[in-house]
Amino acid sequence: MKSKGKLYRNLFIIGLVFLIMTSVVYRYLPFRKILRVTASKEMSFIGAAKTGSEPPNSIAFDFEVAPGKEIPNGIITGNAHSGKYAAKAFGKNAFTPALERTAAELGVNKLKYISVSAWVFVKPGGGDVTAALVLAASNNMGVNICWKGIGLKDPLVPRGKWFKMSGQFDLSDVKFGNDTRVQLYFWNNSSTDILVDDYFMVYGGPQPRRGDTTYVDLTKGPYQAKFNYPPFPVRFLRMAEIVGMQDASLTGGAGDQKGVVLPSDAIVSGNFFAGNAGRDVLFVIPKEGNPGIYAYCPESNSFRRSAVEGTKALLSSAPGKQYLLKGKFIIGETEQLLYTDEKSCMLCKFSSKGGTCRDGNNAVAEILWQSEKFDNLSFDPEKPLLADDFDGDGISELLAVDLRGAWKLYRFQTGKAGGIWAVIAEGKEEMPGWQPSAGTIRFTSGHFIPGRPQDELLAVAENGRDGKCSYTLKVYDPSGKRFVSCFPGKYGLFQKIFGLDTLKPADRFYCGSFGPNGSPMVLRYNRDWRYDLKEISFSDSTYHILNNIDFAGYSADHNPKYYEVLKLIPGRFTGNQCSFIVIGRNCKNKDYDGMECSEYEDLPGLPGFISLYSFVN
């Protein structure tokens, strides 16, 4: 009995050991098709596979041998689908050189699906074809953990011509480690001679859309609009047909007259000229070249460029960042330009003897005031500085807000030495909701709420701690010499936010008479993730998203929203209605993140442009 128990115990141990061994063997010698070719050695002789952002998550490999290099084994010349070289898989159980990457190189999280393609040439003659385009993966011990193939099998395999193979592999059940090697190669298991060229591999699979939940489900009932929740109706900015305004040219002329304005140029629009029927012109300080004025001429339905005399001071002041503000700082019909850079600032007014639309006309810039310092503060253009009519008297003021949220309101006073900027009000205490130091904040002034004589001040902040955004909408109280909430005592300090599309510091706001009949509109432009221009309106408690804004009337498929760099310059260029001069460019720098682009390029099918857009309905 005892010996019988011992026997059972030994049998159990033997069984256990067998099980463990089987598991180990299975783990490292999986009962799967084990086929693998070494690739790195051959690859080193061949021109590098093209990986990168064009298109993304893909590798193309055409077996081209780098000039001067010896032709590696497995590569032949004379019959290739592209270039001069192709890979050969001649005879039974022959393999082409493999395209190989580690999972880490491709991105382990991008390997749920891999699509592959290759071009294949089966030589005439020989027997039936049995072959496969293979995707294999092996672990760090060199053991295959995945082997998948697109079969190529007679009948009806074409002979004597290049044809394509492609397919997609679901690899969601494969466990990739960083050092897992992924190989693409061609396996010929027949006596026929086969050439292969132009491997292509796409990894990553379809990227899911951003977001969480779809709100509108029409299978459950009719659509019921929910305040500030998408989808929103769409309004269109339509491109105006302007003579000479074509591609990147604003005027259609030559040289300076061509009117090529870049997004990186310092640009401001304003009603700078008397006798121009109140129309705004575009003042541009290009990165290279001379400043110019671009004015719309109704008679010719075109823009005309005028050189600007007297801008030496502007150009000599500093290379680097230049900031242009406009405002009606002195009593009169026109607006003036407040120029600032890292070293100085100056206030200019413009004049034109013959009118901006006359041939050969030059505009003249007259410096009204200039200083290396702004008031007693060292000038810091990064600090908020806004020009608008805050007190509603028809004259623009300058508002400066410091990092603590303290502020000063200046008014330009003509007098000795051309004039001074006088502080007409200030808040020395921190203004709640205005502290840039607490996170990110952006101030925008404008007519956000119709019916008020003066401009309001919108401060949109993102809390540095939790990333939450908030905003305040204030108006200057001239009698109390302070900024107060537009709707005092109603909802506390901050306005309410409803819906998904919160206001953000990165937003740009455009207030103006954009409506078809010059009616006021407020637009919010954001490019955190994509082009996103919306018409909104502010109420006493919140803002209401009214419409998405898209573009129409452009040539080909050059929708401005597709451009990597898109600059919108609002102005009343052609009449009472506000419109946008829109500049679209693509950045040559592939690391472009939406901030600074040093060089632009025309992409195929998407050349740079400048156009005028306005709402027509």
Binding site: S53, E54, P55, P56, N57, S115, S117, L133, G151, L152, P155, L156, F163, K164, M165, S166, G167, Q168, F200, M201, V202, G204, G205, P206, Q207, R209, R210, G211, D212, T213, T214, V216, D217, L218, T219, Y223, Y229, P230, P231, P233, V234, L500, R527, W529, R530, Y531, A556, D557, N559, K561, Y562, E564, N586, C587, Y592, D593, G594, L603, G605, L606
Partner: protein, 644 residues
């Protein structure tokens, strides 16, 4: 055995053809003399009151209730063909003779004789559309006593062709013989006169199941053409069998201008009354006269898509692949519209019958903000047929715009079972049975018979399934990186752009995965027809359909004033043709009974413009959910339908 049988069949076919040709030239459709021991028959004419050179267009009046009748009182004086023949009595004394007239549809039939055994009726020959006098209790009729006076005596009779000529109970509804359930087939009819002696009848040399065609023999109907031309009937003494060289040619032309009936199954009377027009409704007149109904698609709830919230006129708005790519990447889930494709919520609003121009106009209605819709539209004929060359002259909507961007629609010209009820079951599937349900999935049960059948033209933007080493294409779906245009605006692979201006004409036969055909196969296989090779594809052995795809230029099919689409449905093959005119059709699809079960039940024609879930079309370059809702009504027109 096989050779002699085949030869005999060929001789018969050729002789009929030659006779037809000969008589066509001589404009004489009467038979010449045929002698037996006791009599001579000549001058058999199946119709003295109808010119056989003339195509008989089926009369739709009353056909919905009674089935088609050939001819009707609007086509011959009393609604019958007057037949006659002359007989000379060569016997020793005066006597009566017995005769019977049979007809058979020759265009859509199975061979009467088994090619492997000439003594046996051909497989499925009993399915042929043959008949005789519609009173199946009437066997052979007797002539008057005819003297043996060495002269011919004229014998006259009448016949007409009706549905359910065997008066089979499966087509009855209670006491009512629903002859429309087995309508006369279109195409050519032959007429066979059999004359014998009453003695042969009384001695049962002509068995009852031949005299009375409603009777079966050992559970199977025996085709009298088999019996008399190939079988035992050809050896009966003093019996004459004469197949007239004159053939009746029948076609159907459902009139698109005859109105559109609204089926109460889809819309209640009070709703229809609200939206009815003079040419669309549910009233008695429209019920009687309309050749078409508004087709209401079955919408599978599982095909719900989350569509981009874009409304646009893809065909006119310069919509581009870049637009498609941007819309594919840069909308959040929260902005999407979850919806299935829709059917018309109200009748008569998207389909119009124009009696003046004799056409049907239909449109997929535009969407509006808050009322997003991709609504299918279509019409269906009301009179079923089995087999036929179904030709549609139509201008359906263009599918691609000038940028070769697809508008998401599938133009479909298709046949569907008239009814899935038992009376309309397809013939038995012997090898394992059919998959029981159209929507049954892989685990569906298999059954001997099903009523479902479908033959499709589906024309849309998609890719070929074959050869299998090119599916799916290696798409790069791109990334939502706005500051890197090439990252989101990724071009299609070259094999896709090579056919950029083409749409795919997909030709499908829904055989419900019956494994009877000898070359039934999953995956890809090829078949040749008239020098062309077609790739046919079936996903797996339980997949219910076999499909062939041909790329064709969208501008030609849908940019021209009209185009022809033809489904030539024969007992053992289906041929899909398209072309700019009826005499310039080209084959774009072909299958035969060696690879797929060809349906043999009654079907109707449907013409639709419908929004498909592109996941039904594996490998498609465009996803339906990334295509805008239509910004304008998308119009299609049907000018002519013929079934020949």
């Amino acid at each position: 055995m096989r050779t002699s049988c085949l030869v005999r069949y060929l001789i018969f076919t050729c002789s009929v053809a030659c006779l037809t040709a000969f008589t066509a030239c001589k404009h004489d459709t009467r038979t010449s003399e045929v002698k037996t021991e006791n009599f001579i028959v000549r001058g058999f004419s199946p119709s003295t009151n109808w010119d056989m050179k003339q195509v008989l267009n089926l009369d739709y009046e009353g056909a919905l209730q009674n089935g088609f009748i050939i001819p009707t009182v609007r086509q011959t004086k009393d609604g019958f063909f007057d037949l006659e023949f002359s007989i000379k009595n060569t016997a020793s004394g005066p006597q009566k003779f017995a005769f019977k007239i049979y007809y058979q549809n020759e265009s859509y039939k199975f061979p009467e004789v088994d090619p492997t055994d000439s003594t046996r009726q051909g497989e499925n020959a009993w399915e042929n559309f043959y008949g005789s006098w519609e009173d199946t209790l009437s066997g052979f009729r007797e002539t008057e006593v005819i003297a043996n006076d060495n002269s011919f005596h004229k014998v006259t009779s009448q016949i007409r062709i009706v549905g359910n000529p065997r008066n089979e109970k499966r087509y009855f509804n209670g006491p009512w013989n629903d002859r429309w359930k087995r309508n006369p087939r279109v195409g050519e009819y032959s007429f066979m006169l059999v004359v014998t002696t009453p003695g042969n009848i009384s001695r049962k040399l002509i068995p009852d199941h031949i005299q009375y065609i409603n009777q079966a023999y050992k559970g199977e109907f025996i085709n009298p053409y088999f019996f008399f031309v190939y079988g035992p009937g050809k050896k009966i003494p003093n019996t004459m069998v004469s197949v007239s060289p004159a053939r009746l040619k029948v076609m159907a032309s459902p009139d698109p201008g005859s109105g559109i009936y609204i089926d109460p199954v889809h819309f209640k009377k009070e709703v229809v009354d609200k939206f009815a027009t003079s040419c669309c409704g549910q009233d008695d007149k429209t019920f009687r006269n309309a050749a078409f109904s508004q087709f209401i698609h079955f919408i599978d709830a599982s095909t719900k898509l989350k569509n981009i919230p874009v409304i646009g006129d893809v065909l006119q708005d310069n919509y581009s692949k870049m637009d498609y790519n941007w819309n594919s990447r840069f909308y959040r889930k929260e902005e999407l519209i979850a919806a299935t494709s829709l059917t018309a919520p109200e009748p008569c609003q998207t389909v119009f019958s124009d009696p003046v121009h004799r056409k049907i106009t239909m449109f997929n209605p535009k969407a509006e903000f808050g009322k997003w819709q991709k609504q299918n539209v279509g019409v269906i004929t009301r009179h079923p047929f089995t087999y036929g060359k179904w030709t549609v002259k139509a201008k359906l909507t263009e599918l691609l715009n000038k940028n070769n961007m697809w508008n998401g629609l599938t133009n479909a010209v298709w046949l569907i079972t008239q009814d899935q009820a038992e009376w309309n079951f397809r013939r038995e599937c012997k090898k394992g049975g059919y998959m029981a349900n159209y929507y049954g999935g892989q685990q569906d049960v298999r059954v001997k018979n099903v009523g479902y059948s479908e033959i499709d033209f589906e024309i849309l933007k998609t890719v070929p399934y074959c050869p299998q080493w090119l599916l799916p294409p290696a798409y790069n779906n791109g990334l939502d990186r706005q500051y890197d245009v090439p990252a989101w605006n990724v071009p299609f692979p070259e094999e896709i752009t090579a056919d950029d201006d083409k749409i795919t004409v997909a030709c499908t036969n829904w055989d419900m995965a019956c494994w009877d055909p000898s070359k039934f196969k999953d995956g890809c296989q090829t078949i040749s027809y008239e020098g062309q090779t077609f790739w046919a594809h079936r996903w797996d052995k339980n997949y219910r359909a076999i499909t062939e795809k041909t790329p064709e230029p969208d501008d030609e099919l849908f940019g021209s004033p009209y185009y022809y689409f033809q489904i030539d449905w024969k007992p053992t093959e289906i041929i899909w043709r398209i072309g700019p005119s009826k005499d310039k059709l080209r084959v774009v699809g072909y299958v035969n009974s060696s690879m797929t079960c060809i349906p043999n039940n009654s079907m109707l024609l449907i013409v639709t413009q419908e929004f498909h879930n592109t996941r039904w079309w594996v490998g498609s370059q465009y996803l339906q959910e990334n295509i805008p809702f239509p910004g304008k009504n998308i119009v299609g027109e049907i000018y002519e339908v013929t079934i020949e």
